[in-house]
């Protein structure tokens, strides 16, 4: 597929020393790419660079075949939905939507038609005469989205468009956005600090940390195969245990992991809660149940092992046989190791002869 947006070596460091450094990524035509990261990591800075609101110190931005690096925002084929205060308060919804087309001197009929089309798309047909202050927050953000769509942008930029809304509305608008995106085959660069939002709507995700890209991958890979400890900590729930390493070997319970080379004396093991199974009989590891917290149709069970605390989820049905202070054996499906911030692959997993049974 065609590359629609190509960002090369983008650098912009503010006077404070914060900013973004040497950012490289591409978005394909019709793809939704999400920038995800904690507050202040530079997501908005990247978005504003692409939109033309920041003159970058270094780097190239190419849309389609056109190098737009030196174009001003009004000349760029991008449209942006801002983090807040999107609509023009002194204009009706109709005027908000029609403004760009009036600038282009389109005919009245055509403008009417396009505005109606946009309002139908976001399902707010009856709001044309209203002022932004007469709309709810969610409605305003949808109008802002419609206004951006009416520009026919080659790349649509969205800066946490739903962050000011409550969880339920955020969920609905997310669905709606995804629907519109696939229907209109839009190329989107989406910014959020909400990992759930990122995982649910993106084709690919860029996880950022302090102005650098930590990992760029599909949501599934980001979740299952985090490349750095930062990504592992930032995405989803994860258990972390520090384990000593000696002679390129480290053990968890009665599993011994072999590494080809290691430099430090300690590794961090990361285990997803859903990769831990509590079972009777033989297992990898011995633990005692410390706490059981019911969270609806499942429960969070806190386990204490000799190396640290682990949390896992247990279905309601299986809960009956578990009690606080019980000794249980646990099975680990998947463990990922990090040396410092970097993922380190083990070359061999070996089961020790000491058998653990309860």
């Amino acid at each position: 597929m065609d590359i629609q947006l190509d960002v090369k070596n983008l650098t912009h460091v503010f006077k404070t020393g914060e900013g973004i450094r040497d950012i490289n990524f591409q978005i394909k035509q019709g793809e939704l790419l999400t920038l995800l990261g904690p507050s202040g990591c530079g997501k908005t800075t990247i978005l504003r660079s692409v939109g033309g609101f920041i003159q970058n110190q270094q780097g190239k931005i190419i849309v389609g075949q056109e190098d737009i690096t030196s174009l001003s925002p009004e000349k760029r084929p991008t449209a942006m939905v801002f983090q807040s205060y999107n609509l023009w308060p002194h204009m009706t919804v109709f005027d908000n939507l029609a403004f760009s087309m009036k600038l282009k001197k389109m005919s009245k009929d055509h403008i009417n038609e396009r505005v109606q089309w946009a309002l139908r798309l976001i399902r707010l047909e009856n709001t044309a005469k209203k002022y932004p202050s007469e709309l709810s927050g969610g409605q305003q953000q949808r109008i802002a989205l419609a206004r951006a769509l009416l520009l026919n942008p080659k790349v649509l930029l969205l800066d946490e468009p739903f962050s000011a809304l409550d969880a339920k509305l955020r969920y609905e608008l997310r669905e709606e956005l995804r629907e519109i995106q696939s229907k209109e085959n839009l190329t989107m660069l989406f910014v959020t600090h909400d990992q759930e939002e990122a995982l649910s709507i993106s084709d690919r995700i860029i996880v950022m940390n302090k102005g650098d890209i930590e990992q760029m991958d599909s949501p599934r890979s980001i979740y299952n195969e985090p490349n750095t400890l930062f990504v592992a900590k930032f995405i989803g729930k994860m258990n972390f245990i520090e384990i000593p390493i000696a002679d390129h070997k480290a053990s968890i319970g009665n599993n011994m992991y072999h590494f080809s080379h290691t430099n430090s004396s300690k590794l961090t093991a990361a285990i997803r809660p859903e990769d831990i199974t509590i079972q009777e009989g033989k297992g990898d590891w011995l633990a005692s149940i410390k706490k059981i917290m019911i969270l609806g149709h499942y429960a969070e069970v806190t386990l204490e092992t000799e190396d640290g605390i682990l949390k896992t989820f247990v279905e309601k049905r299986k809960l009956e046989s578990l009690h606080v202070h019980d000794q249980v054996s646990i099975l680990l499906q998947d463990v990922r190791f990090f040396e410092g911030n970097d993922w380190i692959k083990y070359i061999k997993k070996e089961e020790l002869p000491t058998c653990i049974t309860v």
Binding site: E74, F82, Y85, P89, H90
Partner: protein
Amino acid sequence: MSKRKENLLGIAMVMPSFISLLILVIWPVMISIKESFMNGEGQFSFENYIYVFTEPMMLNNIKHTVVVTLISCIIVLFISYFIAIYLRFTSSKIANFIRKTYFIPMFVPGIIAIYGFINTYRDNGWIARLIGQENLPVLMYDIKGVVMMNMWFNIPFTTMLLVSALSAIPDSVIESAKDVGATKLKIFWKFIFPLSYKTMLVATTFLFMGIVGSFTAPFLVDSNAPQMLGVSMQQHFSVYHEFGQASSIAVIMFIMSAGIGYLYIHSMMKEEK
């Protein structure tokens, strides 16, 4: 508490301020209005108003007042708006310096500022000595002097009002306008101006009322004839002892201010709808 008692309590609570308003403001105003409709013998008559509206000197004074007020308002508004726009959209060192200093004139007592002004600009003042008397246009005891003084007194406050109005316009409003393709000129006329013109109206109202009734600056800096109405009223009162005529001038000044006040409220109400 019964409804009645509650009402009485309410009335009792506003009474003190109402009574002081009555004694200190409304009563003297009523007396002035009454006085303006009386001739020397204390009988009802339009004599004072006929004097004010037929006497060529008085007509000139009214015209002069209107001209000074309008010119001052327009110049002050224009300069203040320009400064405010500059401060809103620039963050250079110069802009920061202006941002920190532009309101200093508000802290200089008026009379000191006026004497400073006179010493600087009169025909044998600082500037005249520096550039030669013949090169300095006549500023003192002339309409130009009063207008300049009005600028000194009014620009800081007006700028402050406009700066706060402009900084209330979020950056994203302007950036999203740029994003859809608006040029600088369009951004000004379609966004910045409509979003700040209400404050312009407020500023105009304050300016007009303040300048129409001003006394100190015109008294010390303006020409002897024509005079502004504030000065003229004071002369009729304490030099000619024509209390009736002084009162009628006061009433006319009041009506001018009230007219602008009405226009202001009217336009605000229209906006509300």
